[in-house]
Amino acid sequence: MVQGQIPIEEYETGNTKHKWDLKKLRFAHRVLFEYNYKKGELKKGYADRTLYINLTNKEIKEKKVTDEMKKKFTGGRGFGLKLLWDSIKSTTRWDSVENDLVITTGPLCGITQYPGSGKSLCLTISPATNIICDCNVGGFVGPYLKFAGFDALEIQGKAKDDVIIFIDGENGKITVETAPLEETNSHLLNEQLTHMYASEDSDKSRQKVAIASSGKGAEHSWWGCLNFSFYDIRRKVPRIKQAGRGGLGTVLRNKKVKAIIVKVEKIHGLSNNPADPETLAKVGTKLHREIRDRDRYQCNMRAVGTGHLVEIMDDYDLLPCENYRFGSFPKAPKIYSPKFYEYFTKIIPDGCWHGCTLACSKTVDGYTVMTGPYKGQKVTVDGPEYETIAAGANMSIWDPLWILEFNFYCDTYGIDTISTGTSIAFYMEMYEYGILNKDRCDGLELCFGNTEAVLEFLHRIARGEAGEFINVASKGIRRAKDWLIKKGWGDPQVIEDSGMESKGLEYSEYVTKESLAMQGGYGLTLKGPQHDEAWLIFMDMVNNAIPTFEDKAEALHYFPMWRTWFGLNGLCKLPWNDIEPANNAQTNEPAKVPEHVQNYVELFNAVTGRNIDKKELILQSERCYNWQRAMNVWMGRGQRKDDWIPYRSMGPVTETEYISRKERYDKQLIEKLGLKKEDVDKISTKEKMKILYEYRKDQYQKLADAVYYRRGWTPNGIPTPQKMNQLGMDDPKIIEMLQEKINEDEHAGLNVWGGKYTKGEKPPTIQLKYWEKW
């Protein structure tokens, strides 16, 4: 049914309605500690202070944001890095009492005129990787935090019992209170708290409340995500967006925080107090028009969200199917975006922040839950987005309804659909090989496509029923690999090569086997294998636009820096290149979408009143990117060995995979490795795989060489003091630490290139200690 112009109060989702005794729930709260603060006006995108809460010491204080901090760290993720640096130790782990969970905004966060301007950046030490994980998430929490008066929120320490943190921007007060009776799972908890904390019983009032929460799944696994709410006045439900990667929800629940609630007094078009509102309106309107005219012919985001990628990835052999073994699948058309379009509620502004007309946050309303504790209830499912659908493909789930079920429970249990899906896909492959079986999986038949088993697995995690398998498996692939190898089940090499994790974090949902640059886009990253640093598959594989190592390294410099910038400012990446101007293909560098880069330069200047250009914009990112890498080094990682990726992401691990792309691989053996066709025809698949294995691994090392050099790092991937000084990131403590690490590497013989260079091939430079001359 497609209808429009229904008065908002008459909209019906058909969801199950709940009746709670909210007074009783609230009456059970006990205020543990509180803090009154002076409300202030934002100045050119900044609140100029951050909020610090220590749950152990029961301390709340404000920290000043200095001009120096703005200059070096810009905002958002940059501020998060600075706050972490000031608060944690190199030995801090995810569950250490001093671990910080930081939610930050950024100077552009909260403007309403330009699509995609309401993102929060969340940072903490991840259980998966033991280093900093940063996530970019929509919803109202970030903008409201800033409008309530703070550029960032920092939570250190741990509470004894479940608490909620209430930031009351209406009254200038922060309270930490016990919350014993509320639900834990997000879809119910958010509804309770939204109604409880709204100043009046109206939808407009409820829209002024935003919540960050997680769920039961986050308590018992390392896949915990943060759900950020945004109240939908038409659907009359708090909807959610996820800070999914790296177990941030696990850290939230480990700190015994049930929810963070932020309430604002009012919002208006200029809450950010920008220097030049007219430019914001002009640039914003221009993009709205572009979206209006072009989205339907480009990505179709407004209709189906990021799900439009499923059919494209399947077409290009890039959709991860059955644990990344294949890039396409005969059943894949069953989960193409038109299938989900049938279920999505239509004609509603679906932005996760006001004014986002790209509107990719689709929902299915009135979805009838099929399993688990909410079986039979009708709920709103937020999504699914591309990654969740593709996670379905990875587990060989080809039914849109089961993907919705998986999506719903992952969300409300507070676990990441990506890590969960990628991990289960790995367990399924191990099940297929007999390395795992029903006995070893605590009675679960985790074979490809067994949807009931997948959901049962999630329910058991949420219930905290830990059998040996569930206990290990819910900590992700890295720990499961170690466990399988320790048990002596199966060939360790197959286990290592097939489980798609790097740095301890599970891969997001793209097949990278045939694009070397994309392998770097996943491996040569700060937090782990996530496509938010660079997505180079088409540039590299389809258009062949970056053929040499040097070209690839340039792309793996520019794009990660450019994409980092969104996180420094509280922005979404999608309106940059998921909508393109009509003449983009005719520009010099279409992959960069130059007109949109210029939009961002203008937006930044219009908000902050500064006068930067596109080069300064990259420098802003470089400062923070290198700082984060340096912090990884400080924490004992951030070196070449940590940037290693599993062979499944480089090439065919199994004979089936080789045969499925035999022509491509045989051709590579002939063209790249100089084998004769008749020889290739003669030798066995196993032998060919071995040759390819060595070749591709060496290619990856050479890529790392080129990228490290381009980024201004040592051959072991350590940011050099010279580079840090050039960027103005000259904190003596960090410079000294880097120099020590470089000296240690020198001693250990690690300051050498990783690739094997034969005749006619050159490493990036033959000079030893080249950085010392910079």
């Binding site: 429009g4 112009q5 309403t112 407009k204 914003g284 209006r292 004014g355």
Partner: protein, 149 residues
């Protein structure tokens, strides 16, 4: 709630227009308490050759569904109305209006539009403008979606 079935929209008789823009001045008086007209007027009269053309909202209401905060509604008299106290200035309606009739003046962040108040009709000394009643079902439009592939 009874839904309106008709709405008054502006009709223009260019042969009666002398191009002095009394209508625009009256309109900017309504919206901005200013008689500047031009950028501050919801109705625009544009000279085309020797004649004139009117550019104004036709109350089709596509903007209603795109407003994230529900600031745009159809009133009892059928007019599409933007409540500037609710509006958060995102300009989505300005960008998505297919005829560019949702306007933005530099003097405030919230857009504005024709509300069929008739001030321009009364201001025109030659009767070049009139309000005519049309059926909403005949003009109604909803936000465009490509309906799957």
């Amino acid at each position: 709630m009874d839904k309106p079935s008709t709405v008054k929209i502006l009709k223009f008789h260019p042969e009666k227009c002398d191009g002095r823009l009394a209508c625009e001045k009256a309109c900017s008086q309504v919206h901005f308490k200013s008689d500047e007209g031009g950028e501050k007027s919801a109705i625009r009269i544009i000279k085309v050759g020797k004649s004139y053309k009117m550019h104004v909202c036709d109350q089709r209401g596509l903007c209603i569904d795109i407003c994230p905060v529900g600031a745009i509604t159809r009133k009892k008299n059928g007019v599409v109305w933007l409540d500037k106290n609710i509006c958060i200035g995102c300009q989505a309606c300005v960008g998505f209006c297919p005829i560019g009739a949702m306007r933005k003046s530099e003097s405030r962040i919230q857009p504005f539009k024709c509300i069929s108040c008739g001030a321009c009709v009364r201001a025109c000394p030659y009767g070049a403008l009139e309000l005519v009643e049309v059926k909403i079902d005949d003009i109604k439009e909803i936000v465009y979606h490509k309906l799957g592939k």
